[in-house]
Symmetry: none
Subunit: 221 residues, 4 copies
DNA sequence: AATGAATGAGCTTTCATTCAT
DNA sequence: AATGAATGAAAGCTCATTCAT
């Protein structure tokens, strides 16, 4: 629609084909983006194919051309969004650092990722609820990866004597995950209870500190 | 519901009206029960009125007679199920005991309530996601009530010097809630990761202990 | 519900039966009244049996007991309301008077009857439209009666030389009927066009005069 | 609808888009036609969407695609049919002619329009009855237009001394309308009373003459 | 005579998906 | 590659009517 950058449309040998491919890629991306926002907002059952097509600005038929059907599109949306967090967790850990530093950094990274990615937060929530009805088979795989990632870290912490040796790693991960997600899954409810703006820098940081304190020291003295 | 005044329940002539009313009440209850299970399972959008009527063993028309429409039925289901936890929380606290004991008892009660009431767990999850689309105005009220309940308890704990004075009560409640719920909202996913049966007595108790440890001491030494 | 008037329940030999009959008659009447107003307002298709029962303050089941079904109730309503006008037309004509006086009196009686009986006006309108779908076989009978009534009057007028001899009686009746009905069938539309209150005494009289002028002299000079 | 600019309609390559648009327009028209006949026959409440779709030979879904919902379709039907008469009334009056000629011509045009457009006759009747329940807001607008149209004509007649000066224009219009409509709204009833075929040329002309006589001279001598 | 509970058929409307170009 | 028109199955809801007391 915006046309080609001037002087570029002759560069690649079979221009039309390349162009087609490019536009095709663009369409796919637009669909995926629209689908992400709508599936996140309304869930796999509430989302309407028409609405997605509309928001993507493409013909509904193309959506079927690229993604087959609604369920498959939903799956693709999940895959697309889950990949984001995977790359994230990879960079958070550096075994050269102290365990506490690593854990704090990983939690911080995760927490702010969630703050920035409402769609991700909601998609995982929908999936947790729709397990068995609408896929729900994708997330466990990612959980496994994360467990793998943290496994070494926590074992290292236990060896170095700074993490309780009786910790169940899976439970620990689940707990951290739950603590971080809570603010964002309950976003609107929480917002209505708090007086302040939850998404202010200070508030987010305060929440994160609360979580870190809890992880490191518990609520009781 | 109010029953007969004591001493009268053996009178021979069964009042016809009462019988009618009783059957009506029974039907309402059957609908509510079926609706609870199906709304919990499939959410407000995924649930089908036909299915609810079928499962309740009544004619769909009666459902509309008693509850007006689907959304209102959903609301009634929420009300009905939320009331359960409200009465629960009322009985958990006894300010004569030590704060730690109170907190442990309240968390335990809450945790096992969740373990026993999958429907409740799922209903709150749906509501968190559907806020603004399908009601979502009911839960905050209950949250308020719980906050009120715990407020005194935690303040008492702070005064007695066994709870960190810098604790934000609302965050603390949110965290405890999140930690307990996590096992059950992620039920199926978790189940697929754990080898053992999550709902075995030992496993449940282990999970609860993990949460209590975390609350009392954190993960780190 | 209000009980029997004190001291009266022993007067008539089989008291209960008489009373029953009386209450039964009362119920029938209440149903008929409610049905009239609702059928008039919403037509045979728009009317709801529930609404009629509600407005009559009786159990829906009784309505079926007394009238069999909706269509039959509708028919009974028509019969009941058509009878009113029949008795009316009987008293309007007196062959001793001059034809012009008779006609004026008959039209006046008819016009004011319509003004007072919105239900009648609307019921005939519905029936005209629903002919073949919901009865519509009742009105023609009444039309016949009226024709009979007027026949003599107009023939008399023709003989006496004050009515055009080439008049088609049936057309004349139809025209008068149409002219009178127009104000009331178009009631709401007309009301929205006129500034004044259509149902004020003066306005009604003015309309009637217009019709009489038209009948006696036409619009043109 | 606007057709191709003259001289272009023989171009060979049939533009695909145009073809599509054409088919779409055709479907819309088919729906409108079927809806007209069924709404006219059974009224806004009695008409069934399924029946309309069937008669139009299209899938019910398209009906909703084009017209949104039943009520809106009904409105569109009214608009479509009311337009016919509007264009009619525009051409009937020519102030160069004598008032009597103009009035006779207008009435004649109107009368035969009604004879040819049973749907129009019935639609206005339904609307008069359903005012406030199903729209009923469209007709008054057209009445206003017609009033405007005739206003000059009748004022002219009064000035020239051939129309009674005390005539209320609105009443006159209402009366003429009522007289003409009567034959057709009461069509089936009338038919059952008359021996002859009402829609024979002679009969129609006789009815029209009766109306004109009434307007010009009244029934009485 | 009177009633509340119950029903099945049918209504309007919605949705994911496919056809034809 | 892209599109508007079309579809059938199913959803939520309503209604006249009957059952059981």
């Amino acid at each position: 629609m915006e046309g080609y950058p001037i002087g570029q449309h002759k560069h690649i040998t079979p221009p039309k084909a390349a162009n087609r491919e490019q536009r095709s890629e663009e369409s796919r991306a637009r669909i995926l983006k629209a689908a992400t926002s709508i599936f996140a907002e309304k869930g796999p059952e509430g989302a309407r194919v028409d609405e997605i097509a509309d928001q993507a600005g493409i013909n509904k038929r193309m959506l079927y051309h690229y993604f087959g059907n609604k369920e498959n599109l939903y799956l693709e949306v999940l895959r697309y969004n889950y990949n984001k967090i995977y790359t994230l967790s990879k960079n958070a850990i550096n075994l050269a650092d102290e365990p506490k530093v690593n854990v704090a950094r990983a939690i911080r990274a995760y927490f702010y990722f969630l703050a920035d990615n409402e769609a991700y937060v909601r998609l995982t929530s929908w999936e947790a609820l729709c397990v068995g009805r609408f896929t729900g088979k994708l997330f466990p795989q990612f959980f496994d990866l994360i467990e793998l990632e943290f496994d070494d870290l926590i074992k290292d912490g236990i060896e170095r004597g700074c993490i309780r040796p009786d910790i169940d790693i899976r439970q620990a991960i689940l707990s951290v995950r739950a603590l971080c997600l809570a603010y964002f899954t309950q976003r609107k409810i929480v917002q209505s209870l708090w007086r302040e703006d939850i998404f202010s820098e200070e508030m987010l940081e305060a929440c994160l500190q609360h979580i870190l304190n809890l992880i490191f020291d518990g609520l009781f003295i």
